[in-house]
Symmetry: C2
Subunit: 439 residues, 2 copies
């Protein structure tokens, strides 16, 4: 297989996508999966529901790519134009696919309805197309080949509904694409989720660890975490070995900073540790307003270790529900390590949880002072034997707008819980002072 | 101005965008704003950081559009290629713009750093370009004109960082584009945020209200709310009058269902009502786990009316912090209107807030039973004189996965608080049983 055989173009059709009413997550997903497989995504194109524009986009894409993957335009209504455009493009007739029509009818029957006549359109496929089965909806996908000079690029047509399209990609299209690459072009990768180091610091930390001709490392900042993806391309045995070897080395080098592999979230990582240790957690939240609780309970089964928490947004509730003393609040202020410590201790007492994490801060845009500017955040953790009085606190000066400060505070709090469970120190106060690397 | 003058193409550059590691929200935003102004977005293109691909994309875009708007590739590093590609495309030299260089230096000085030599690149602009000022970052944007046959399409270059790019669009590019359209092509619109009716029910409710030649209505489902946008194109006076007239009629027809205009969020709408009435709110959250608190405190200044709340995820905490009786929990279960009512009453008592809203439900994927399947949710509101004992409850059977059930529960709870403040009844139990319209 030549290098040229790896060029992919992605085509999205639909007025709602071209006009920005819908963000084009389909194209991002397809591009990501193709790139992971070792394909070169040369262009993404988006056009509205007009036959001439769709036809132009296909031609433009085929001029640049060996494989063109299209989503959208397969519905039963008059503005769904993909099938007729492909027919026009290839000179093929649209032919009724009886098997697909039977499948569509069956879907309606299962819902206790009879199929509207319009849906017949969805089973009218260009002659010669090879069906990509849609197990979750009425629009079949398909593959077809065109002639472009002496090249024979392939078009792949998929529906625009993500929950139908994604399994079709995963189970049918990507395996077919991988096979086309041949046995010498297997791609294997491992992704590590990190928190606490900047992209450039991570880059430095792993510098020289990986021979560039054997594997490569890519960073992906998805605030507040940064993912590291190690990948290798080549024959199966070699790449599996390399990804294992270098992956293990990276995992060791960045051990405290990596909180999970694959697409694991911080709350899932914390949850697993709590579950494994039979430990329970609570949160006393001021500036995060419930975000820690919302994230912890995002994970199915979290009731096994997350008991609940107290959102003490007003000073009155800090006193009333958490037992923070009025003296502490007036002497040190609501945003202080002293208050955070009493909040954490109070939350343990009120809930009986093994570990309590507390947050209090100035998220902005108002409320900052010269001594405590917007972004000043105090976090405390209470647990048996953690610090002299069973509580430890830290102050951070965080960067960003209200939303960023809150998201980062919740992440710092969860990361600290993770570190307590792993016997690691919390991130140092210098963390979060600068803008993260460009997005 | 001819129809042809309204064709816009949007070009995004960057490996991270073309490979799908970053979802292209820039293009969606730009397309949306251009479409709102009455422009026709003919194509969106995305290419990686290669000079030849970027040049090809510009040429392809100029062949189809009168205005091409590009984002990305303006950073200080070697893979930022937009300026040199534009220079090559137009045959212009790259010339140092002293004023922009001084601005970049000043940005670094404000941060107490000296400017790295690399950043000089950002001030090297194609000769003849008209600067689009960047008030928030180091990369200036600009406009330039090319020759394409007898057409003179315009290119607009903007940075890829959304917080820099968006104000440049709003304050400089869109006004320039609007002026180009001329006085007969003014577009005016009003957007209404709704919750509680399906897209088809909304469509029916407003059917026949608007003469199609005078204005048009578009629906945009952004789970869990649906926005209705009314827009009219024509001369300024006429369209302003139409949008006012038909907008007011729609606002009246859908009065309970519309919770705000523009891009107002439900939590901001609830916050405004609480503030206006001098009323305070608390939440007792089980299945939502803190989402109501997190959303309420998302709004700057929310401490004026949101005192905080209690996340009682475990039954123990429902008893301990909210005073739910063990008998109620064992007789009716944690997910029951009885429990929700005691949670709401308990939260008012614990916090002293004027209104308390409580949520308890089965978010899934596990925990469902034949009597209480996944998606069963009980919500209660406690307030003086609201219901016989100062508390009212309802049960909903919601559709969707864990995340949807939780998001919808938080939205229903907030919407009910809004309805209490406006003396409206809560949404009826039939709400949320079916899948929303396709996304």
């Amino acid at each position: 297989m030549t290098e040229a055989g790896r060029a992919v173009a992605i085509l999205s059709t639909g007025d709602e996508v071209v006009e920005g009413r819908t963000v084009d997550t389909n194209a991002a997903y397809i591009a990501d999966r193709c790139a992971q497989l070792g394909f070169d995504v040369v262009v993404k194109l988006v056009v509205g529901d007009f036959t001439d524009r769709i036809e132009w986009a296909w031609k433009t894409a085929f001029a640049k790519a060996d494989i063109v993957i299209s989503t959208g335009g397969l519905g039963p209504t008059a503005d769904d134009l993909t099938n007729e455009t492909v027919a026009r493009l290839t000179g093929a007739d649209l032919i009724l696919d009886e098997a697909q029509l039977a499948k569509i009818r069956a879907i309606f029957e299962r819902m206790g309805r009879s199929m509207p006549e319009n849906n017949v359109r969805q089973a009218m496929l260009p002659a010669g197309a090879e069906v990509v089965e849609n197990e979750l909806g009425t629009a079949p996908g398909y593959r077809f080949t065109v002639r472009a000079g002496d090249r024979r690029p392939v078009g792949i047509v998929l529906p625009g509904v993500p929950r139908e399209m994604r399994p079709m990609m995963e189970e049918q299209v990507l395996p077919w694409m991988a096979e086309r690459l041949g046995a010498d072009h297997v791609v294997r990768s491992r992704t590590f989720q990190t928190f606490g180091m900047s992209e450039s610091a991570l880059d430095e930390a792993v510098a020289g660890m990986i021979p560039p001709d054997e594997a490569r490392l890519a960073f992906r900042a998805a605030f507040p975490q940064i993912a590291l993806r190690l990948s290798a391309t080549g024959t199966r045995e070699v790449v599996e070995q390399r990804v294992k070897l270098y992956g293990d080395r990276i995992a060791e080098r960045l051990s405290g900073v990596i909180y999970g592999e694959g697409d694991k979230s911080m709350e899932a990582a914390v949850g697993e540790l709590l579950r494994a240790r039979g430990t329970t957690l609570t949160a006393a939240e001021s500036c995060t307003g419930g975000m820690i609780g919302a994230r912890m309970t995002n994970v199915p089964g979290s009731s096994a270790y997350y008991v609940g928490g107290i959102v003490a947004y007003s000073n009155k509730l800090k006193e009333r529900l958490l037992g923070v003393s009025r003296t502490t609040l007036s002497m040190f202020g609501a945003v202080s390590e002293e208050t955070a410590r009493e909040m954490a201790l109070g939350a343990r007492k009120a809930t009986g949880a093994d570990i309590a994490v507390a947050t209090t801060g100035i998220a902005g845009p108002d409320g900052g002072t010269p001594e405590k500017p917007v972004g000043t955040v105090a976090i405390a953790i209470a647990a048996d034997g953690y610090g002299a009085d069973g509580v430890t606190s830290k102050t951070y000066q965080l960067w960003g707008n209200r939303e960023w400060v809150r998201v980062l505070t919740a992440q710092l709090a969860l990361d600290w819980v993770r570190r307590v469970l792993l016997d690691l120190s919390p991130l140092d106060s210098g963390f979060g002072k600068r803008a993260p690397s460009k997005t």
